[in-house]
Amino acid sequence: MIWATIVMAIREIRRNTMRSVLTTLGIVIGVGSVIAMVTLGRGATAKITAEITSMGVNLLIVSPGSERRGPTSGSAKPLTLDDVKAIAREVSAVNRVAPAAGRAVLLVYGNKNHNAVITGTTNDYLEVRGFGIALGQSFSDAQMQAGNAVCILGATVRKELFGPQDPIGATVRVGKVPCTVVGVLTSKGQSTFGTDLDDFIVMPLSAFHRRIAGNVDVATIFVSAVSDTATTKAKQQIELLMRERRHIAQGQQNDFAVQDMKEISNTLGSVTGALTALLGAIAGVSLLVGGIGIMNIMLVSVTERTREIGLRLAIGARGQEVLLQFLIEAVTLSLLGGAIGVVFGLGLSFAAARGLALPFLVAPDVIVVAFVFSATVGVAFGFLPARKASRLDPIEALRHE
């Protein structure tokens, strides 16, 4: 009976192909936009999370300046090498500690020049930031100690200055300082916010201090925690230590900031998640509108087919069987719309993901939810017309013109 009813419903829908397609359009757009929004939103979330994770494993960043005013702002007292040593010595939850200082310089090689940032730091920096050595090698202990003018190039700098040439052993002029290239970093590409993560060079911190900066300030301390569950503990320990070292009285605000990359990642993730939910909800409203469209057409259909309903009742259909028939028609329509909407939404989000350079992540759960939702819309909005049909009086219905 159910099967025969479904077959009847499909036949009825095919009998009015054009009208059926137009009826489902609301559902198509609703389901399509929900799927597109959620798929794109998840892609964006995944990308942002990946970016932040790629900035370093279990990374904490210590910088001067209060958190409220932004970590790099103002004239707060800079960090020192002693702070670095103290953190490495006294904070149990940290694995590696890398001081860093930097500035923008002009790099010259042969007849080519390129503006980039130079970072004075240690080999640990590469590890905590998640860079590998693509060519050559990292700094030797002797180079670190002596403050030799050696450098490791970011992938972009290497491309700009050397192209396909082997840069190892070449001398690049960094500002006014000639510097021997000992290595090239692996590439990390662009960050979420469009900055090139490979457009910099690395120099031993001692060399940077002596030859380029002319001071011994540490701008940032990169710290990796012993595990990804230890970041919160490490952050607390570092804050305690730094307050003490910088003589901050109780009740006073920190004049430095410890940023936890995982926290930032979580925050950004929840922001994009909320945005996705919001956009999805807005798109969901069109599903509702689509449902009303189905109800409208089903009501028209019931009126149009009054005589048919009368006949069905006369030859022995019970009210519930007529109800079921119209309900199945409505659900079939809405599921049809849902199916077209899924294809439409996936196509749309695939194209958009391509255009926005986001990963295209098909979310099966959203597809299932969209289907269930469109079936629900069919039942909810098909019920009223179906009930109307099932309650018709057979004699009246047969007389209907």
């Binding site: 009998r15 006949l311 069905r312 030859i315 022995g316 004699i395």
Partner: protein
């Protein structure tokens, strides 16, 4: 399914109306469509129900066809008091015992003849293959086997009414109710349809109750019941029967 008491027993008439009244509307606008109608129809009869418009003949057919229930009095179908049944039980009664033919055919548009004929079988939960077989057989019985795939729009009026008759007999009903079955047809088609009904009545022993206002159609039947003001005014063996008797 309704189990009718004493099914088949000769003592219980197929249809028995006892002082049946049917009132539409309320207060001043009350209409007494039936005002104490008494009628008994036995298995195998072919009854023409006649009368002026407003005489109650259509209401009588609706009541006998279990589409409507009497306001007062009793209607016994195979001994079962129809007045005590609810809407769904009436539907089941129609599904299992009755077939309907209408003046305006009431075929589903854009649906092939065979699918139209299958319709009552769907509600009887007959499997698809069996359904098709029975429907084709019924179409063959009305002489339309070759038109099974045609839609109503592709058939003439007479052919459409034949499809409707096939739809009514495909379930092998006890009783066929026909409301002006020839009303929309030209005279040649009228004769065709009446001959078909007579054949079904004689060969299949299907009881037929037919409402008509054309007295020449009544000639094909075995009995004529004339309604007037909601009552049976005249009940007689039709001319044909009387001729056969004399």
């Amino acid at each position: 399914m309704i189990e009718a008491a004493g099914g088949g027993a000769a003592t219980v008439p197929l249809v028995e109306l006892r002082d049946v009244t049917k009132v539409y509307g309320q207060g001043d606008s009350e209409v007494h469509a039936l005002a104490g109608a008494n009628l008994r129809i036995d298995d195998g009869e072919f009854v023409a129900v006649m009368g002026a418009s407003g005489s109650g003949k259509s209401t009588c057919l609706n009541v006998v066809g279990c589409l409507d229930q009497p306001t007062g009095g009793q209607y016994l179908f195979r001994g079962v008091d129809v007045g005590s049944l609810d809407r769904d039980q009436l539907a089941l009664l129609r599904r299992h015992y009755l077939g309907f033919v209408f003046q305006s055919f009431n075929l589903l548009a854009r649906t092939s003849a065979v699918e139209n004929v299958e319709l009552p079988l769907i509600y009887r939960r007959v499997p698809a293959a069996e359904r098709r077989r029975l429907a084709l057989a019924a179409l063959d019985d009305v002489g339309l086997a070759s038109r099974a795939k045609h839609t109503p729009a592709e058939l003439s009026g007479g052919q459409q009414q034949r499809v409707a008759i096939a739809r009514a007999i495909v379930t092998a009903p006890q009783m066929l109710l026909a409301d002006e079955p020839t009303g929309n047809l030209d005279s040649a088609r009228k004769v065709d349809i009446m001959n078909l009904l007579v054949q079904l009545n004689r060969e299949r022993k299907i009881t037929i109750v037919m409402v008509t206002h054309e007295s020449d159609m009544a000639q094909y039947t075995t009995r004529t019941v004339l309604f007037r003001d909601g009552r049976v005014e005249h009940d007689s063996k039709s001319a044909q029967e009387e001729r056969a008797a004399s």
